[in-house]
């Protein structure tokens, strides 16, 4: 009774060792080694699909061009009348036609606008490529900014990725409480748009009786105080400068030990800031963040050096988050939620438990059935099945794949489908044995015939799985992954592996002449 070692058995044994070795880190939760990551639906977390309001980006581009024209003309003592702007264009006219040349010359350096001069009136428009560029940049910048902010927030492996042209996918696995989630959401969405604006002192006294339309007529806007919305400020619509000129922001404390934010401006910003404060002594400067006035101190003297403070009654945490947001830059365009899925960790744990019960229950049923129905052949099939499970886990660990709830269902389903191959093979062998073929012939022919059918059947399932992967989102992709790996692994274990085992045992089977024991059939007499 010699057992023939064959290449199939060797490959199968290697596959089993591979499966056990690489699935161990995930199964035993070892410190080292590559592990399967649990999907957000299993460990809890936040999935956000964000849209970018790109039209706001073009608008703010127009606004900043308008601000620079205003600054230039003021510095050069050029008198400008009726400087107005909308989403994509700016109009103004000069009082002195002799200045037209200088302004035109100045505007030459501004890229992406078309300039139309009619006498002394100017019409500037963003060119269509510039609009596209600005919008694309807004999305790029939003991704970059959100990534920066989340990195500094201190969560493990935040994931920020572009999806399609203007969608941003944010996945935060480490979120455990609703408070954390709220903080993360606020950090992500914070525009962090800092603007320093001049209070319109000529009309500020009348602000309580003014409508927004009245204010607009003077080229002003009405802004609320951050703490008390009843306090209103009337400020010039075109800001003196904005957060784009910020180089640093950090949390600090004032003399009463209350948290505040220190910021620094770049050279250009410092110059503009110095010019403005020098010109506006005795007036107020509004520090505006995201459309709310944080403070409006009096300007006592020219402020050089380009640094300032934003005070307000924040908590330390708020001040910290705010300085992160300012430091990582403003969002050029506001973002909004297109899709949100948040799962609490307790629900994830419940889902794991439920799917484990299903997996074990299904597994036990299948294993028992196979043993009862096919006897030794069933045991062989079960060995292949167990090997299959290990290999799925090993491959997923190696690739650091994400296991989701549908992915778990996929593994459960694989248990049912992976033994299919063995059912098909064993039935075929039985059939051939009943026809009176020898053990050797029955096994070889059985495999030869069954494999063709199994291959065709598996390929079609794979086609469905690949489509599912290509078109599925998030958790569903996980299902496609586990099903695909399961099918591929089953070809190795259920076809090659069991074939090897039979070849190994062939002489033994032949000798015993007990087809009831080996294949669960009664000899027909």
């Amino acid at each position: 009774m010699r057992m023939k070692l064959n290449y199939r058995t060797v490959i199968f044994a290697v596959a089993i060792v591979f499966g056990i070795f690489f699935s161990a880190p995930s199964l035993l939760q070892l410190q080292d080694g590559k592990k399967i990551t649990l999907g957000l639906d299993l460990q809890g977390g936040l999935h956000l699909l964000l849209g970018v309001k790109t039209e706001e980006a073009t608008k703010s581009r127009v606004k900043s061009i308008a601000a620079s024209i205003k600054h230039y003309t003021q510095r050069e003592d050029i008198l400008v009348d009726a400087l107005t702007f909308d989403e994509s264009s700016i109009t103004f006219s000069l009082l002195d036609i002799d200045d037209v040349k200088r302004v035109k010359n100045y505007l030459k350096d501004t890229t992406g606008i078309s300039i139309d001069v009619n006498g002394e009136s100017f019409l500037l428009e963003l060119t269509p490529p510039e609009v596209i560029r600005t919008q694309k940049q807004a999305v790029d910048q939003a991704i970059e900014t959100i990534r920066n902010r989340l990195d500094q927030f201190g969560l493990a492996e935040p994931e920020v990725a572009r999806q399609g042209d203007e969608k941003i996918l944010v996945q935060l696995a480490g979120i455990k409480t609703q408070e954390d989630e709220q903080r993360a959401r606020e950090l992500i969405s914070r525009a962090a748009k800092l603007e320093l604006m001049a209070v319109d002192e000529d009309r500020a006294a009348r602000v309580q009786n003014m409508s927004h339309a009245d204010a607009a007529a003077y080229g002003d806007v009405i802004l609320d105080d951050v703490k008390n919305p009843d306090i209103k400020y009337l400020v010039r619509e075109i800001p003196i400068l904005d957060g784009g000129m910020l180089t640093d922001a950090s949390m600090g404390f004032d003399q009463n030990n209350r948290p505040l934010i220190n910021f620094k401006l770049n050279a250009e910003g410092a110059e503009i800031f110095g010019d403005f404060t020098g010109r506006s002594v005795g007036k107020r400067l509004a520090v505006v963040l995201d459309g709310k006035v944080y403070s409006a101190p009096n300007i006592n003297e020219r402020i050089g050096g380009g640094s300032g403070q934003i005070s307000g009654s924040y908590t330390v945490e708020e001040a910290k988050d705010l300085s992160i947001a300012l430091r990582s830059g403003a969002l050029l365009a506001p973002i909004y939620v297109m899709e949100k899925r948040s799962v609490g960790p307790s629900l994830g744990a419940d889902s794991i438990e439920a799917s484990m019960i299903a997996l074990i229950g299904g597994f036990v049923l299948v294993v028992l059935f196979m043993m009862l129905y096919y006897r030794a052949a069933g045991v062989v099939a079960n060995i292949a099945l167990i090997a299959n499970l290990f290999i799925i886990l090993a491959v997923m660990s190696l690739f650091g794949a994400t296991l989701t709830l549908p992915g778990m269902a996929g593994i459960v389903l694989t248990v049912g489908m992976a033994v299919d191959a063995n059912v098909i093979i064993t039935e075929r062998i039985r059939e051939l044995l009943l026809e009176g073929k020898s053990i050797h012939k029955a096994i070889e022919e059985g495999y030869a015939n069954a494999v063709r059918a199994i291959l065709d059947a598996n390929v079609t399932t794979l086609i469905a799985a690949v489509v599912l992967y290509a078109y599925g989102t998030g958790a569903i992709k996980g299902f496609a992954v586990t099903i695909s790996i399961g099918i591929l692994a089953s070809m190795l274990t259920a076809i090659l592996g069991t074939h090897g085992i039979y070849q190994l045992l062939e002489s033994r089977i032949q000798k015993s002449k007990n087809n009831r024991f080996w294949f669960g059939i009664r000899e027909s007499k």
Partner: protein
């Protein structure tokens, strides 16, 4: 153990009229259900909001309704039990797009005073994303079907491909009918189940077709219905047993997999049963109706092998010539 002992071919084709009647009835019933009751699209496809809340004790649904009524964000919200008595879901057709005003936070605050609870899940799907997912879903079903059609046509013959696709369509429509009947929410997981069903039901069909192909090429019998009867009977054990093992695990998922996986498991449960039925009773008769002709197939195969033989001959001559 043997459930199916082959003694002689069972006359499945003789029962094809009865099977046709059953299938037509189920298809019609499904169509009527889909027309009248319709599919209940969940948030994934319709867009909207789901908030899942778990209480320490039985969820006070009436009290919750009362509390939520005061906030206009919850206009038209439905509150239903989810699995167990202490868990509920609040469903809304609207989806908030603000990041800072979060429906989860709002719900948590609105429910203060109704007992001890925890917000376990918040799903918000904006209308744009919902439509995209729907389009992608339909695309994926269509693409998978086309892929399978091409593969089967390539491996077998076009009539086999058409027959299997018709059988699949039959399965999918009836599964959808069953979903409409019990009023399940159709979400992405149901789509995944349908696609799995597509692959799975085809598995069984292919096992039968493979045997028909084998018997057609290997035997002298040119009566297709007899060949089909023989093949279906021979594969009956496999078809039913493979379905049985899958049925076991899907049933386990259905029973113990938890509420979230419920719709997925239900769809597969129905699908496995229908898929098995269609592989035995639906797919093969279609071959017959499409007039698959064994003699013609033999001629075609003979042609093919002749061509290959000639090619091989030419190649041999060519190679020996070069050498």
């Amino acid at each position: 153990m043997e459930f199916f002992k082959y003694t002689r071919p069972l006359n499945f084709m003789g029962k094809s009229k009865l099977a046709l009647a059953i299938s037509v009835f189920m298809l019609l019933a499904s169509f009527v259900l889909l027309m009248t009751k319709g599919l209940n699209y969940g948030v994934d496809f319709a867009g909207g909001t789901i908030v899942q809340v778990k209480y320490n004790t039985e969820a006070p649904i009436d009290e919750m309704r009362e509390k939520l009524k005061s906030n206009e964000l919850f206009d038209g919200a439905s509150i239903t039990k989810f699995g167990t008595a202490d868990e509920v879901v609040i469903r809304m057709k609207s989806a908030t797009s603000s990041i800072t005003v979060d429906i989860g936070d709002v719900t948590r605050e609105a429910l203060v005073g109704t007992g001890e609870y925890e917000i376990r899940r918040v799903d918000i799907v904006g209308p744009k994303v919902g439509n995209e997912l729907k389009e992608k879903g339909i695309m994926s079903l269509v693409l998978a079907t086309i892929g399978i059609l091409i593969y089967v046509a390539f491996r077998f013959e076009w009539r086999f491909a058409v027959a299997s696709i018709l059988a699949l369509t039959h399965d999918i429509i009836i599964a959808l009918g069953a979903i409409a009947l019990v009023g399940l929410d159709v979400n992405l997981d149901v789509l995944a189940a349908l696609l799995t069903l597509l692959g799975y039901s085809l598995n069984d069909t292919i096992i039968v077709f493979d045997r028909i192909r084998e018997n057609v090429t290997g035997s002298k019998n040119t009566e297709l219905s007899e060949v089909i009867n023989e093949s279906v009977t021979r594969t009956l054990a496999r078809t039913t047993l493979t379905s049985l093992t899958t049925f076991f695990v899907v049933f386990m998922l259905f029973m113990f997999g938890g509420e979230i996986i419920h719709a997925f498991a239900f769809t597969l449960l129905v699908g496995v049963v229908i898929g098995t039925y269609s592989s035995i009773f639906v797919a093969s008769p279609i071959l017959l109706w499409f007039g698959f002709d064994i003699k013609a197939y033999h001629v075609k195969l003979a042609d093919k092998s002749k061509r290959e033989l000639e090619k091989q001959k030419m190649r041999d001559q060519f190679e020996s010539g070069v050498m």
